[in-house]
């Protein structure tokens, strides 16, 4: 998957999770930029990504992601 494809998948998963089709994610997006993307929805998002792409993030990494781009980069490296 390219970064762009991963980003599109993230956008779809998050739109579904927050029931908000107006969400547009970029590499620089942070959780604060997306209304209602609280810590609970964040954990759900992470697990939904893991399910869909068949990967597993390190617990410590989950906490240290700052931007959506960070999650994309880690996803790419986990997908190999």
């Amino acid at each position: 998957m390219t970064d762009q494809e991963i980003l599109l998948a993230f956008t779809r998963i998050l739109r579904d999770l927050l029931a908000d089709d107006s969400i547009v994610l970029t590499m620089d997006s942070t959780r604060a930029d997306v209304p209602d993307w609280d810590s609970f929805k964040y954990v759900n998002f992470i697990v939904a990504v893991e399910m869909e792409l068949g990967i597993r993030f390190g617990v410590a990494d989950v906490e240290s992601f700052k931007t959506v781009g960070d999650i994309v980069a880690e996803t790419r490296s986990l997908l190999g």
Partner: protein, 544 residues
């Protein structure tokens, strides 16, 4: 040594700064070394024996961290690294547990068995709750390889750095050390101006505002514990007044910490962002004691929720994904971890039943807020109408929920808490001073049948208390906060000026700049604060 005391302001701080710049002539290493020594002195001032208590814990944590650093570099030994991490966390929790909870455990055992257990009476070393959390975070960061190298000197400075030593902000090694490496130990007029302004804002919030309203709030709690007046008005003054008091106290302390760091060119993370303007409880916790929320979310809530959610998915059970809802998932994946996290938060704040209930109550608030987020917006025709109507309602509800919970936080006894909560609901009747009741115009006749007359000589006190509450409420909810006023000069990590078009006229007028009017204003605030010092007035959060 208290930040708001003469010895700190007129002796420790000038001497520490002078030493920092003098040693800075020689080198940065010397200047930072001086800071470490000064910090140790700062800690020892209150009770020198504290140093002996805290030193072994500091040294053991250093040894554990070095071990972790070596183990985590080697993938084959990740199992051992994990074991050492667990051991390290257990050590810190036990250490805190012994000093903070042994007395409480005795109470619980006595209550459960109906006997009188007296475990050793332990005196709490200053700031131990904050120091412990910070060290746990450090061990986890080393384990996760977010910190890959550190020397003993760096570690000591990080742990002891006096602006954040006693009551936070709870900082991470990785956000502090790069700054220390770049600190210029030369006199820098911008850092001094911004640092002093932050410090004086904080001092004013603490010494004038928080201590000022405390004089009207404390007596209500004290008298509630011994059967005093807990009718409607005093109960509400107690709840709202204490909420304002603790906000100005702790955010004032945090401003002072930010200012002290800035005097030597170091930025600390923000701890308060006008929490009393929050539009929901979730929003409140993102603005109140932010570094504690950050810690609890990262190291407790996230791992727990992640583990539960993954486990549930592995079993093929529904989770709370997308537009479907399952009650089981809601309780197991959201309410469970939330309640547990807030329970720990309550217990961390204080060893007592009321603190635990306070934490659990906030857990309930948060769960309701999350449930509302799942269902609430669907009840409205559009997102915009929902936002427009619910934001103000949410803000009022949030403030009231926080204030009512604060009664549990502050009450000296469970009985006082119950009486005050009944008073808030009006179950203890309404009483007003005679002179006030007479001057309510048309309301006087309307209220007469329901209102009893409170004890003579309370009129002035009643009016003053109401005035304090109203003025502080206005400051907390209508004025920009310190970080916003100073935003242009980067007062805290990650704080930048907001979008200019969104700022109100008032916010623009209060934008801080190193100008003569601001200098005069800060001198006035500073003078007012200094004149209020002297009495013994500890920060509320220093006892935690």
């Amino acid at each position: 040594m208290l930040f708001n005391s003469y010895p700190f302001i007129f002796a420790f701080l000038p001497v520490t700064l002078a030493g920092f710049f003098l040693f800075g002539i020689r080198s940065r290493t010397w200047a930072l070394g001086w800071l470490t020594v000064a910090s140790l002195f700062f800690y020892a001032w209150w009770r020198p024996i504290n140093v002996l208590i805290i030193a072994p814990s500091v040294l053991i944590n250093y040894a554990l961290a070095q071990l972790l650093r070596r183990l985590s570099a080697d993938k084959k030994r990740s199992g051992v690294a994990r074991a050492v991490l667990v051991l390290g966390i257990a050590f810190n929790v036990t250490f805190l547990g012994y000093f903070k909870y042994v007395n409480f455990l005795g109470t619980v055992l006595s209550d459960l068995t109906g006997t009188n257990f007296v475990l050793t009476q332990v005196v709490l070393p200053l700031g131990i709750s904050f120091i412990t959390f910070q060290k746990i975070a450090f061990l986890i960061d080393v384990y996760a390889r977010r910190v890959v190298s550190f020397t003993f000197r760096e570690y000591c400075l990080f742990v002891l750095f006096f602006p954040q030593l006693i009551a936070g902000p709870i900082v991470h090694f990785r956000e502090m050390m790069p700054q220390f490496h770049q600190v210029s130990p030369r006199f820098d007029s911008e850092n001094i101006a911004v640092g002093l302004t932050l410090f004086l804002f904080g001092l004013f919030k603490k010494a004038v505002l928080a201590d000022g309203i405390a004089a009207h709030v404390t007596p209500i709690y004290e008298s509630a514990a011994v059967g005093g007046d807990v009718s409607l008005f005093p109960s509400w003054i107690a709840a709202v007044g204490f909420t304002l008091q603790i906000y100005f106290d702790f955010s004032g302390y945090s401003d002072m910490a930010l200012g002290l760091g800035r005097l030597i060119g170091v930025r600390l993370p923000p701890n308060f962002d006008s929490p009393l303007k929050a539009s929901s409880i979730i929003d409140f916790w993102l603005r109140w004691h932010m570094t504690l929320t950050r810690f609890l979310t990262a190291y407790l809530y996230n791992p727990l929720a992640l583990w539960l959610t993954r486990r549930r998915l592995a079993k093929g059970l529904p989770v709370l994904g997308g537009r479907n809802f399952s009650t089981g998932a809601f309780f197991r994946l959201l309410v469970g971890p939330t309640m547990f996290t807030m329970f720990v938060s309550g217990l961390w704040h204080g060893a007592g039943y009321l603190f635990i209930i306070w934490g659990l109550l906030h857990g309930v608030y948060l769960s309701i807020n999350h449930a509302w987020r799942l269902f609430g917006p669907g009840l409205w025709p559009s997102k915009e109408t929902y936002q427009r109507f619910m934001r103000p309602i949410g803000a009022v509800l949030t403030f009231l929920s926080v204030a009512i919970a604060m009664v549990l936080f502050r009450s000296p006894t469970a009985k006082a808490a119950i009486e005050l909560l009944k008073g808030i609901l009006g179950l203890n009747g309404i009483s007003l001073p005679q002179q006030i009741l007479e001057r309510l115009g048309p309301l006087t006749r309307l209220m007469q049948p329901f209102v009893s007359i409170s004890a003579a000589g309370t009129t002035q006190e009643f009016a003053l208390a109401i005035a304090w509450v109203l003025v502080l409420l206005l400051i907390a909810t209508a004025l920009p906060n310190t970080l916003q006023i100073m935003a242009r000069y980067g007062p805290a990590i990650g704080v930048q000026p907001g979008p200019a078009d969104g700022a109100t006229k008032l916010a623009r007028a209060l934008d801080w700049n190193p100008t003569l009017p601001w200098a005069l204003a800060m001198a006035a605030l500073g003078t007012a604060s200094i004149m209020r010092l002297g009495g013994k007035s500890e920060f509320l959060y220093w006892q935690f």
